[in-house]
Subunit: 255 residues, 2 copies
């Protein structure tokens, strides 16, 4: 579940709180954590409120950890830089903050990714085929029949293991999942884009599930902004439960 | 000039200050600003120290602006996400903090870049061919004779103008600059990698300079860590002056 708070979209009772971003998150988390395998705060939403935003992010991650240490927490930060610099980004999310995983942009190649793989029990989630329109611009660039996102999948899996690398594949590209599963049959996939972006959970499961499930399916705006009234948290809980129950049916059929 | 402070590399008098990161930067800036067209703090180094680090970054940017409003300040953050999220990253660097430019990773395509172009007078600096070894992994992926970094250059220049887009081309790839200049003859290029990474300023100028100069050449570790003693700031000033004087000779020959 994405935790992407926008101050302009917060209900009055939350907007007036001492720490509105954290207060929004806390109420959403309280209402949804029973149905949620992982939370994924996107850093942009916190950075856009400066130091207060980053303090609220830090508080949010620690709040989730305290509530339930089994919940996986993803730093959706799309980081990546030359080796000595990615090392610093890894320290930011795994050393300074207790995230379990971070999303990583692959453009700069191996040394930009491997520093995120040196923390035991932590994960790098590498962008492969993203959910947005701009994915068409470069991710399909094709060298000898191999598209760029396929090259990213096939090359980068050598840098780590199925226990420290996952890949981002947008739900809006669900029909591509069958081909992607031929390249990475065993890796977990983080699949954003169900909900507001229009992706279908049924299709994601049909094409993307493997024998361990292998899917972390994300919805952000479809849950947290399903209701703009003071009942937002209750509605978010219902939306999270709906998706969890739909997923439970698919899991029961398969396992 | 890169401002990438690492606490483990700071001299004792700085390490003991109340705000060691800012104190290091302030002394470096005081000693170098006369020779410096632009400062480029890399966000990873600040994020790795958590909220204190980000506070020191904010203070640093405001300090430079107060000292000399003509100095250009680049948020080296390699950001990029789906459109509604990149909009938030743009607000973080241009709204919350007074940066003039931000480095952007192009993997996610047009909608991940254009939100950075909607701030008048501000710049997006798009990664094209980077200075690190990992650049070989994906940036040379070749579709119908066009390498990925060439596709990035040719496609993305349509999203903005020569007044709001620059490109990153590593100094360690100086021989590639001649070909790159055929695709982007008029854009400014940010060229990191002179100094510690081994790039040559003479070659960068030879292959990359255009009729407006069109080059922002960066050195980070070669200046700020040239001297680990208490004289670090004085030595940094000398190193910055050396590069500035070498550049002045090339400029005088050409203009």
């Amino acid at each position: 579940m994405g935790l992407d708070p926008e101050i302009t979209r917060l209900p009055a009772s939350v907007a007036g709180a001492a720490d509105p971003i954290f207060e929004f998150n806390r109420r959403i988390i309280d209402a949804t954590h029973k149905y949620t395998a992982a939370y994924k705060p996107n850093f942009a939403f916190y950075e856009s409120y400066g130091q207060k935003g980053m303090a609220a992010l830090d508080k949010t991650v620690r709040y989730i950890n305290k509530l339930d240490t089994n919940i996986f927490i993803i730093a959706d930060a799309k980081r990546g830089d030359i080796g000595n610099t990615s090392k610093m980004y890894a320290r930011a999310v795994f050393g300074e903050m207790p995230f379990d995983a971070v999303t990583v942009a692959p453009y700069m190649g191996e040394d930009s990714v491997t520093p995120f793989l040196s923390y035991p029990g932590k994960w790098a989630i590498i962008l492969a085929l993203t959910s947005n329109k701009g994915a068409d611009d470069f991710q399909y660039h094709t060298d000898k029949g191999q598209r760029l996102f396929e090259k990213v999948l096939s090359l980068s899996q050598r840098w780590g293991t199925t226990d420290n690398i996952m890949y981002v594949v947008g739900a809006t590209r669900a029909e591509m999942l069958a081909g992607i599963r031929k390249i990475v049959p065993d890796h977990f996939l983080l699949v954003p884009g169900v909900g507001a972006q229009g992706g279908s959970l049924a299709e994601v499961v049909q094409y993307g599930m493997n024998r361990q499930c292998g899917l972390l399916v994300n919805s952000s705006r479809g849950i947290i902004y399903a209701d703009s009234s003071e009942n937002f948290a209750e509605t978010a809980g219902e939306k999270a439960r709906e998706i969890q129950e739909e997923m439970a049916i698919y899991l029961a059929k398969r396992f």
